[in-house]
Symmetry: C2
Subunit: 398 residues, 2 copies
Amino acid sequence: MSKQRSNVLIGQSGGPTAVINQTLVGLIETALDSGKVGRVLGTVHGIRGLLEGRLVDLGRESRAHLEKVANTPCAALRSVRKKPTADECAAVLDALVKNDVRYFFYIGGNDSAETAHLLNELAVAKGYELALFHCPKTIDNDLRQNDHCPGYGSAARFVAQAFQGDEMDNRSLAGVKIDVVMGRHAGWLTAASALARDHADAGPHLIYLPERDFDLDRFAADVERVYTKLGRCLVAVSEGIHGPGGKLLFEVKERDSHGNAQLSGSGALGDFLAAEVKQRLGAKLRVRADTFGYLQRSFPGAVSPVDASEAREVGRRAMAEALSGRRAHGSLALQRAPGPVYAPHYEVVELKSVAKETRHMGPEHLAGDEGVTEAFLDYVRPLVGPLEPMARLSDFPA
Amino acid sequence: MSKQRSNVLIGQSGGPTAVINQTLVGLIETALDSGKVGRVLGTVHGIRGLLEGRLVDLGRESRAHLEKVANTPCAALRSVRKKPTADECAAVLDALVKNDVRYFFYIGGNDSAETAHLLNELAVAKGYELALFHCPKTIDNDLRQNDHCPGYGSAARFVAQAFQGDEMDNRSLAGVKIDVVMGRHAGWLTAASALARDHADAGPHLIYLPERDFDLDRFAADVERVYTKLGRCLVAVSEGIHGPGGKLLFEVKERDSHGNAQLSGSGALGDFLAAEVKQRLGAKLRVRADTFGYLQRSFPGAVSPVDASEAREVGRRAMAEALSGRRAHGSLALQRAPGPVYAPHYEVVELKSVAKETRHMGPEHLAGDEGVTEAFLDYVRPLVGPLEPMARLSDFPA
């Protein structure tokens, strides 16, 4: 049976990013321009929309309107956090057959890649000819096979700008300031805070990542050392920090169907660490904690142009790959071309090679107990784009 | 004794804003261009620098560097939260005399205006000829005699953009989302969240301001009503909400020397409200809380151009007024020129008329129990500047 003129279906899944709709629009425009497919459909709230019959016709959107959607943060098709059961996978496949969908694209992180992999296995087993592609997105930057992930550059830009401003704030009104940054298992986003270090004594002075075991005593000693030296201390902490064996500092009440603990959407970790610092270093110390929260993935005013353009290109290439018929399934992977000047390079890899597992920061990126290397800064700078310099007065003596 | 060729001193005080250095540079450049004064000095950390002898020479900064400082958030001279005692006021005056300072400018909020007022009273009583001016700044927008305050427009822009993004986030992954916004006594900043309402069902769906008494039962009922109707609910809450008689929902441990409770730098209020919603509406409900924190006053990427330009002009006019000799003291007040097109208008008012007390939102700005009026939106729009529209898919049925 030929796929010619059959329908395209696109879904978005997992936590939003600021550029996730660039990928969506890249897929739509490439499908429409190809003249090879039937209708271009979207499923509302990911695979849930398929199960509930909530499909929309994306081919009827005007190109001008799609461009505005591409520049709007968070899943325009709305998202879902759902690992389908075997029964649900079967129901999803039935819905694809019923809607004559032969091209299915799932934009998401490693959990979404796992869902795509499960669906693909079932389609293959049932002999249903289906082009099934995963398009990467995650502010966590933790997808295997990728040098970096669409969505990360913009979130990292937000975090870098936030620390630029908060460094000036901490310098204005001295004290200990703890900022909690997203990143469930990997420290990529928290590490981007180091871009704010534009003076010898500029913060973040300490950076705690999930790649290392966190120790409260060492943390308190680190803060005291910096505070004693500078009279202030700005700290970047990943929400995913943990003790030996992955033990979280808190008991977490909520988990999703992929088994992920709820870490975001609460100020508890920051408040806990602030209270610890006060208790150990003195109640009179000015200690504050902020948890950057969902703004990191949704703020419309801090998009990295490189990130936006790569997210668009990922969608275009995924659709072109599917329509070419070269392979029936895969995940678009965003690599870095070799050479001294930054350029992206796109590949297609196996779905299962991206699914589930987390890509951590490596030893080349981690310096000492609480820092990052120059190699990491070189890695992240082109993804974030140029930052406005923060200017201090020269403090000429009067 | 003539003030001719005597020195200028500038200090910054209170919580930072994104444009507080525009005012600083407006003062410096106008003083230098006048040819009427001796040195242009700065006191590091406000009046604390005077007491500790930490003065810097601002006249030696290059104009190009000052321009970069003007575009950098948070007090370049560093700030302080300090209400001087009578002894300290006398010591400050001694330091002014010793440094031949006859022009003193204090950039800050109502607490800083109070400090300026106290110093001025003492200078008058001692017969020390001193031009003493207060320049307004506060993201809280709560200074009397002002239509709005330098710093507010940029913070309101950050809040509006944050809610634009979080509205799309809440629409992507439905649930109850509570965002806590700065504003100790007045709701101006929290109310700016309403600028994100660009669709009939767009949030924030509920807005809680300190101008009204907060009631937990009514809050929970409001959230349930919206959630039942829309399947989601985005809530804006001021950090300063309180029950009847001003009773805070929490016991607060820290207060500064002006008597202000520490509300910011903690996620406790948001977490408390989220827990209440879960307890009352069901533990399975997806409820999240973010506290925007210091980013609201320090984020470098969300400056309102109108705000930046007005903050600069406030500094220029304060210096020009002082040098004109028309009056010996006062506070620059930012008014709105009458007429259909927005334009600022600057006045000079008495120091004590700005000091201490808070300017609240009025009945013309408050709608029902949890909203704001169109009149408020008309008020705030020109201060924030144009926002990028958030585009949704049209959801054409498949």
